[in-house]
Structures are given as structure tokens and as C-alpha cells.
């Protein structure tokens, strides 16, 4: 086994394989940076180029590109408040807030180093867990997957503010997200829901214009109101020192980074949940790591832990989502479905053969993810000082370009002008939410999980009637939902009373 593991490493360092991997990394670097280009779409566009490659070369090229997209997507999220990728939106909340405080370098350093650790943990989880993952995946049926979605929304809702009123608003935002996800054709009966006779809405609302609208438009409005650069007129810290502070932060909070990486890997393994979910759950966990309510109020205002959590999870989930793809041929996300196409183009059937006949190829994938991320982070660290200086560009010069990339990013998701209307509608809605103190994170997670939750809820009800509620794992998850919802409230009341007694 160890021999094969090392053979996988040597396979990646064959000069032809290494060259195509570098090409993939180069493409992935820019795809992640530019909001108008999605990692999944680019993966699909690159499929025709692998015909003449050997399997090891083909996967080095595709995975080299795909595994660095989230890493560089974090850079755009931190610097401009626009999600570089759909999977890097959670980094905006604290990463961009840090950039506005003149700590862009520190935020970028933390995002990149946590991404690297996340990618390494995800890759080694892939290597270690293939033989044991089958029973884990089979334990989760439709009722458990539905409850997992409920726990996710409850978790992020309860951690999105302080006190009962914030909990109410968090749940409201989560429910609105779930409802927005239902726009379009009903997957069970094919009935049009909330489409208002518009053909564009038949497929539902696309995640990209919704995300770009919710996050970019309020940031642009705020930048215009301030009339300064992103970093404002605050005294600028030593940017180079800031990058290394961010790198050190990752090791200061190593426990959190590792836990969030494991969260990302686990969510990646679960078919259908994907990276959009992993980052938010990890963000919720980072908020939960605050010792008291006072410390928690720092989140959303530039707490480095809010960068480390999602940064680690959105990279570790790549290794996780490869597990069901390789082991069973069940893709965990749309990008993995495209990668599955690459297996067939190469004449390889995913499944038990990947653990026996093609084990070197499997390990070469692990090594590709490791090497690609190390190279990307090392190269990015050289440029971070220059990238961080972008936050010093005057607002009036930056705004038309940020708007341009926001509009083009939204438009390219479907190449339809309707995407621009969605962008504006959600942009205005996002602005209103911020004005009113409603958190956006639960809305996004609800939106991402809506369809998954509905499908699993429907299957559970049709297959088991109401009996699914009594399944042991479901009961555990229901209890967890109740704890997750009310524990922060009880804890804050308890802390208040303890404080009152001591004074």
C-alpha cells in the first residue's frame, strides 16, 4: 500500500504530468480570481482537452485546476467583497471586513494558509477513508439527509446574532432562503411554482446571481457612501507583516482550522450537499468557538477565525467529494459529476477497481491536490503584498470595475439577462437585510439546501409516512436541532445572571 502511495507521488512528478498540472493550476488561479468564471464551467470546458492525455495526466490537469479555484476565489472575496466562486462567499463576512480595517494582508494570509491545511486534510482523508466510507454513506438515508439540512439551517440561524430577536431574524432569513430555493419546476410533479409565467424561472433561481447580488451590491453601496478606498482612511498596517500574521493566525487557531477542515470533508462526502454548504457550516462553527457573547459580536466585523473556518472547509470538501465519486461513482456535486465524465472519457469505471487496479491513479489524485495547493499558496504568498494594496485604490475608481465584474459574473451563470434582474433584486434585498440587522448567512444556506431538503423530505414522507421521524439517527438530529437553536440563548442568559451575581 505504501509503495503504491509513493508511486502515486512519482507519477505526479513525471515531467509531462507535472507540466499539464502546472497549466491546470495556472488556469484555476485565474478562474478563481475572476468572478465571471466558474470552476465547474471551466472544468466542463476543459474536458475535450484530455482525450489525448494518459489518465494520470488528465486528472493532474483537471484536479490541478479545480483544487486551486477555491483558494484563489478567497482572494477576490477578501479584497472586493464579491464571491470569486460560489463556494467562497462566507469568507466575505469577516475577510472583507478585515480588508476594510486595513488588514487585507492578514486576511489573505489566513485564507491561503487555512485553504492549504484544508486541502491537505481533505486529500489525506481521501487516501485514508476510501475503504471505510461505504458504511458511513449508507447510514444516511433520505430522512437523515433532510434532518442534516435542518440542523445546518438551525445552526447558522442561531449563531447569526445575539439574543432572542437575532434568533428570530436568523430563522426568518433561513426560511426565506428555503422558500426562494423552491422557485421553478417542482421536481416531483413538474408543476411550475412561483415562476409568474417566466420561462427563465422554470429552472429556479441560480446561486451565482443570488450570491453576487446579496454580497456585492451592499458592499458597493457602502463603498460609495463612504467615498474612500476599501481600507478607508485608516492608518495602513505593514502589509507584509500582515500576511505573516495571518499565516501565524492559522497555527494559533490550528484546532479550529482542523475541525473546520473535517467539517468540510464530511460534507463533501455526503452526496448532494457540496461546497456551498460546507463553508457556511464551518463559519457557524467558527462563530460558535467564541467564548462569550461579547467575543461573538466581533464576528462580521473582522474576526480572523471567520476567515479560517470557511477557508479550510471549502478546500477540504474537494477531497471529501472525491470519495463517493471514486469509490461508488456517485458524484457529490456538479463539478464531481463533470469529473465523473472525465473517468468515462478515459475508459475508467469508478468503483472497486479504483482501490485495486487503478490504485496508483487514485493516489496520484491525492498527490495532485496536495502539490497543486502547495504551489498555489507558495506563489500567491509572493503576490499578496501587491494584491492587498488594491484595497487602497480610491472607491470612485474601483466601483465601476467591481460593478462590471458583478454584472458579468451574474450574467455568465446562465447567459441570460434575467440573471441581471435577479442580481439587482437580491442586491436590494441584501442591502435591506443589512440595514435591518438581518443576517444573510442563513438565507444563503437555506437557499443552497432548499432543493436538497425538499427532495429528501418528500422521499422520506412517501417512503416511510410519519415513521421516519422515529428513526434513531433522525431523533438524534432533531435533539441536536433543538440544542443548536436554544443553547446560545440559554448560555447567554446564564452568562448574564452570572455577571449580575458577581457585580
Amino acid at each position: 500500500m505504501l509503495d503504491t502511495f509513493i508511486q502515486g507521488l512519482f507519477a505526479v512528478f513525471q515531467w509531462q504530468t507535472f507540466l499539464v498540472m502546472l497549466l491546470g493550476i495556472f488556469l484555476g488561479f485565474w478562474v478563481g480570481l475572476l468572478p465571471g468564471l466558474g470552476g465547474t464551467t471551466t472544468l466542463a470546458l476543459m474536458l475535450p482537452f484530455i482525450y489525448k492525455m494518459s489518465p494520470v495526466e488528465a486528472f493532474a490537469f483537471l484536479l490541478g485546476m479545480h483544487s486551486v479555484v477555491s483558494t484563489t476565489g478567497d482572494i477576490t472575496s477578501v479584497l472586493f467583497g464579491i464571491p470569486g466562486e460560489g463556494t467562497t462567499a462566507a469568507t466575505i463576512l469577516d475577510g472583507h471586513a478585515m480588508a476594510k480595517k486595513g488588514e487585507a494582508g492578514r486576511a489573505l494570509g489566513a485564507a491561503l494558509m487555512s485553504s492549504l491545511i484544508g486541502a491537505l486534510i481533505g486529500a489525506f482523508a481521501l487516501a485514508l477513508s476510501i475503504p471505510i466510507v461505504r458504511p458511513l454513506v449508507l447510514t444516511f438515508g433520505a430522512p437523515e439527509l433532510f434532518m442534516l439540512a435542518v440542523v445546518g439551517v438551525a445552526f447558522i440561524s442561531s449563531l447569526s446574532g445575539e439574543g432572542g430577536r437575532a434568533l428570530l431574524r436568523g430563522i426568518l432569513a433561513g426560511l426565506l432562503g428555503l422558500l426562494f430555493a423552491l422557485v421553478g419546476q417542482d421536481p416531483q410533479a413538474g408543476v411550475q411554482r412561483f415562476t409568474f409565467g417566466q420561462l427563465y424561472l422554470w429552472n429556479g433561481l441560480d446561486l451565482v446571481p443570488v450570491l453576487v447580488g446579496l454580497f456585492a451590491i451592499p458592499e458597493i453601496v457602502d463603498l460609495a457612501v463612504r467615498g474612500t478606498s476599501i481600507a478607508g482612511e485608516l492608518p495602513q498596517e505593514n502589509l507584509s507583516k500582515g500576511v505573516w500574521t495571518g499565516v501565524k493566525d492559522t497555527f494559533v487557531h490550528l484546532g479550529l482550522t482542523v475541525r473546520c477542515s473535517l467539517v468540510g470533508t464530511f460534507i463533501g462526502i455526503m452526496p448532494g450537499l457540496g461546497g456551498g454548504v460546507a463553508q457556511w457550516i464551518a463559519y457557524g462553527h467558527a462563530v460558535q468557538s467564541a467564548r462569550d457573547s461579547e467575543e461573538r459580536t466581533g464576528f462580521g466585523r473582522g474576526d480572523v477565525r471567520g476567515v479560517l473556518g470557511p477557508g479550510a472547509a471549502n478546500n477540504s470538501k474537494e477531497g471529501g467529494s472525491l470519495i463517493p465519486t471514486i469509490a461508488f461513482g456517485v458524484p457529490g456535486s456538479s463539478s464531481m459529476a463533470i469529473l465523473l465524465g472525465a473517468f468515462f472519457l478515459q475508459g475508467i469505471s469508478p468503483g472497486p477497481d479504483m482501490l485495486d487496479k487503478h490504485l496508483v491513479l487514485t493516489f496520484s489524485m491525492v498527490w495532485t491536490m496536495v502539490v497543486a495547493n502547495i504551489i498555489t499558496v507558495a506563489v500567491s504568498l509572493f503576490f499578496l503584498n501587491y494584491l492587498a494594496k488594491l484595497t487602497l485604490i480610491r472607491g470612485p475608481v474601483l466601483i465601476p470595475f467591481v460593478l462590471f465584474f458583478s454584472f458579468i459574473g451574474a450574467y455568465t451563470s446562465n447567459n441570460h439577462l434575467g440573471d441581471l434582474a435577479v442580481l439587482l433584486a437580491f442586491g436590494f434585498f441584501g442591502y435591506l437585510m443589512i440595514r435591518c440587522g438581518w443576517p444573510r448567512a442563513p438565507l444563503v444556506l437555506g437557499f443552497v439546501l432548499g432543493r436538497i431538503a425538499e427532495n429528501n423530505f418528500y422521499i422520506s414522507t412517501i417512503r416511510y409516512g410519519s415513521a421516519w421521524v422515529g428513526r434513531p439517527l433522525v431523533l438524534m438530529l432533531i435533539s441536536l436541532t433543538v440544542i443548536v437553536l436554544f443553547f446560545p440563548l440559554i448560555r447567554s442568559k446564564w452568562q448574564e445572571s452570572t455577571k449580575g451575581e458577581t457585580q
Binding site: R169, V191, V221, V225, G227, L420
Partner: protein, 160 residues
């Protein structure tokens, strides 16, 4: 009366309307189509009504106003902030109208130039250089290299 026109009331009212509409629409659907929208719509409507009532009569404690999210700038004088907000929303809407009228490849450089000169009051040379950069991006990267299909826009559509 002031509470009724507050943005907090308006947002919770909008959430209640969305939930109400979802529940009303679900009356016309079969059980399996309507099941999940109702499961979501009923608690959403109830909670939105509670939030509406609280935004009129409820007293909000200082720390409850903070969501784990970014907060709008408070250092700019409110009247000026309101004016700048309206102006930037007008620019955003104007960009959309421009795209619909002349299509992406023309709208982007026109918008960038107009914004830099009118809103930013940037020097002419810098405005021209940055407009060229934006044009190279839209024409070179997105149109020629990636072949993103951009519709012509109403005005150019009439021309052809």
C-alpha cells in the same frame, strides 16, 4: 406612524407577504407539490408577523441589533449617506438599462467612462486608460476568448 415606515417593518412585512403568497399559491397545487412550500410557509408567516409586531411595539436592546454580518458605515452624516445611497442605486440601475439598450460590449466602456468622469471626477487621461482596460476585458476576454454570447440590446437590435 414612524415605526410603520421603518425599514425593519417594511422588511418583515415583505417577508410576511412572500410567505402569504406562497401559502395562497400552494392552495392550487397537488399535495406533493404543495407539501414543502406549506411546511416552510406557515412558520415563515407566523414568525414574520411576530417580527412585524415587534418592529412596531417591541423595544430592541442595543446588542440585539447586531447580526453576525457586516454593518453599514455610520461615520457619514445621515442626510449625505442617504443621498449617496440613492445616487449609487441610480448608477446601478442605469448600468442595467444601458446593457439592455446597447448590449454588454458597448455598455461596459460607456458606463466605466461616465462613472469615472461624472461620479468620480477623475482626470480625462486616467478615465480613458481605464475605459480601454474595461473594453479589452469585455471584448478580448469575455467576447473573443471565452465566446460568451452577448445579446445586442434594444437599440442595436433595431439597427440590424
Amino acid at each position: 406612524m414612524k415605526a410603520l415606515v421603518s425599514s425593519r417593518f417594511i422588511l418583515s412585512f415583505a417577508a410576511a407577504c412572500i410567505a402569504g403568497y406562497a401559502l395562497y399559491a400552494s392552495l392550487h397545487w397537488s399535495f406533493k407539490t404543495a407539501l414543502f412550500p406549506r411546511v416552510i410557509g406557515i412558520p415563515l408567516l407566523m414568525l414574520a408577523l411576530i417580527e412585524m409586531a415587534l418592529s412596531i411595539w417591541g423595544v430592541e436592546r442595543e446588542r440585539e441589533g447586531h447580526a453576525v454580518d457586516f454593518e453599514l458605515t455610520t461615520t457619514v452624516e445621515p442626510a449625505l449617506a442617504r443621498k449617496r445611497t440613492l445616487v449609487i442605486f441610480a448608477w446601478i440601475l442605469g448600468f442595467l438599462v444601458l446593457i439592455l439598450a446597447v448590449g454588454f460590449p458597448l455598455a461596459v466602456p460607456i458606463f466605466v467612462f461616465a462613472y469615472l468622469r461624472i461620479a468620480g471626477r477623475e482626470p480625462l487621461t486616467l478615465s480613458i486608460v481605464l475605459t480601454l482596460v474595461s473594453w479589452i476585458f469585455i471584448e478580448g476576454v469575455f467576447d473573443r476568448f471565452l465566446h460568451i454570447p452577448f445579446p445586442d440590446g434594444w437599440i442595436l437590435g433595431l439597427w440590424r
